[in-house]
């Protein structure tokens, strides 16, 4: 496919994402600095601790934080798992912690409680086919509300656990630690779509979030 997927490698299970991307035939590169972001067609924000990643980005002299926002607003596909979905959210319930605030969702951190309530369960995700997805939730968040242009892709009784808004995709669960590659394949298809809708090589073409969301 020739696409290069960046995996934000500040903290968390970025190696698992990189491995899965590689399995699907795309190139994965670790992103720790703003200049590394320039080399990629898309970005995955892995599982980890959102307060840690905020501390490592917000207000640091490296431009990485601003560069992610800029590229995402220009249409670069971004997929956030668990911590990644918190970091992408416009609003975090009861918290002012640093975040990209790119996606029109409000999240509740640790929505399932402490680790003893972390779980795996079969999740219906119609977009991925009729076979349920083996979703693993690790002290995971849920989306408690979202904007009009957000497409809800899966829910559990506690809230929404998978959603897309244009070039932004989030899951509260961790496909990267399972054998099921369907979510990553779905994301790569978003990346391919974003690439195809541009005239030149990937970076810097403008795709409106609303246009993609309407698809």
């Amino acid at each position: 496919m020739g696409m290069t997927i960046g995996v934000l490698a500040l903290q968390g299970d970025f190696a698992e994402h990189a491995w899965m991307v590689g399995e699907l035939g795309a190139r994965a590169v670790e992103v720790r600095r703003a200049e590394e972001l320039e080399l990629v067609d898309a970005l995955i924000i892995p599982g980890g601790e959102s307060t840690t990643v905020a501390r490592l980005t917000v207000g640091q002299s490296d431009r990485l934080f601003d560069a992610i926002i800029e590229r995402a607003k220009e249409g670069m596909p971004v997929y956030g798992t668990c911590m990644g979905s918190i970091f992408l959210a416009r609003e975090i319930e009861g918290s002012a912690q640093g975040r990209l605030a790119l996606m029109d969702i409000k999240v509740r951190r640790n929505a399932f409680g402490p680790q003893r309530f972390s779980c795996e369960r079969e999740l219906a995700v119609p977009e991925l086919g009729s076979e349920p997805f083996p979703a693993v939730f690790i002290r995971g968040p849920v989306i408690v509300s979202c904007g009009e242009t957000v497409q809800v892709m899966a829910s559990v009784p506690e809230g929404i656990v998978m959603a897309r808004q244009g070039n932004l995709l989030v899951t509260a669960f961790h496909p990267e630690i399972t054998d099921d590659t369907r979510v990553h394949r779905y994301f790569l298809s978003m990346v391919a779509e974003a690439g195809a809708s541009k005239e030149s090589r990937f970076p810097r073409a403008r795709i409106s979030v609303e246009a993609l969301a309407g698809r």
Binding site: G12, T51, S95, E120, V136, V156
Partner: protein, 305 residues
């Protein structure tokens, strides 16, 4: 185009599976887990970017100084710390003390450290960690010890190092030992594996698994004597996946600054420029004590079987 309110067709939640227990430490990779003794310290650690805190009554340096029997901390203190932060909270139990572990599990601790820093409750057996719904981390000095703990159900391994000394030498020794043995095992002819398993006292199936994957089946952190950003980066360059800092932060002159510096050093462990930048003006590190000056009875790393 909104397609809200999709199916609620989800299956039954399965908690405490091996996958779920091993996954928590996976999310902590590349991070720093800090010892804290009060809710205020826990907040400082979280603010500095810790991925988790270890809640305890005394840091290892003070446990050494105090002497006497070191036990699980008061649940009241641990609960205060759980309520003070949003990051995972770990706590320690004595080796073999499965009732202390039951208590910690019931109060909502996210991960239990079956730790040689406390006075062992059982000098023959460790806890059967498979019985619990939350993950355990255990210390190890070599591959055999790591695989015995994983065989008992540990979901995370850390080097033992020599806790409470501020001397990184033992953590380096243990990391080199574990990682070196894995490298040698991965090129070992298959017919030598059974004898090797017997020699190091490890379950044969796990020996084969490590030989084929070239890595431990669980996450592997460094612990025991890490006191500076450079120490953390050293352990990361040796090949561990994250670090525990015990006495090194809150026994130093400026804990908040040192904590944040160690967090950055753990992320940018391969970048000497960042390491130089974060190492500047940190104030005095913990005074420490050389691991070599310990009497044999004072070594904590030899606890565990």
């Amino acid at each position: 185009m909104v397609t809200k309110a999709q199916t609620a067709g989800e299956g039954k939640a399965r908690t405490g599976t091996e996958l779920v227990k091993r996954a928590l430490p996976q999310m902590l990779k590349g991070g720093v887990i800090m010892d804290v003794v009060t809710a205020d310290q826990a907040k400082i650690a979280e603010e500095a970017g810790a991925v988790a805190v270890m809640a305890l009554e005394r840091v290892p340096a003070d446990i050494r100084a105090a002497g006497g029997v070191a036990r699980m901390s008061d649940p009241e203190l641990i609960i205060e710390i759980i309520e003070a932060v949003t990051i995972p909270v770990m706590a320690k139990v004595r080796i073999g003390h499965f009732v202390e572990a039951q208590i910690l599990e019931s109060i909502g601790v996210d991960c239990i450290d079956e730790s040689e820093v406390l006075t062992p409750a059982d000098e023959e057996c460790h806890i059967d960690k498979r019985k619990f719904s939350i993950p355990f981390v255990c210390g190890a000095r070599n591959l055999g010890e790591a695989l015995r703990r994983i065989g008992e159900g540990a979901a995370m391994i850390r080097t033992k190092g020599e806790a409470g000394t501020g001397d990184v030498v033992e953590a380096v020794r243990h990391a080199r030992s574990i990682l070196g043995e894995i490298r040698r095992l991965s090129i070992m002819p298959a017919e030598e594996r059974m004898t090797y398993a017997k020699e190091i006292g490890a379950p044969y199936e796990l020996v084969c698994e490590v030989a084929e994957s070239g890595r431990l089946p669980v996450v592997n952190f460094a612990a025991g004597g890490i006191a500076t950003p450079a120490d953390a980066a050293l352990m990361m360059q040796l090949g561990v996946e994250g670090v525990f800092v015990g006495s090194g932060i809150f026994k130093s002159q400026d804990p908040a600054k040192r904590a944040a510096a160690i967090v950055r050093a753990t992320t940018f462990y391969n970048d000497p420029q960042v390491l130089a930048e974060v190492s500047r003006n940190l104030g005095e590190p913990m005074f420490g004590r050389t691991a070599r000056s310990l009497e044999p009875a004072e070594s904590l790393a030899t606890r565990g079987w």
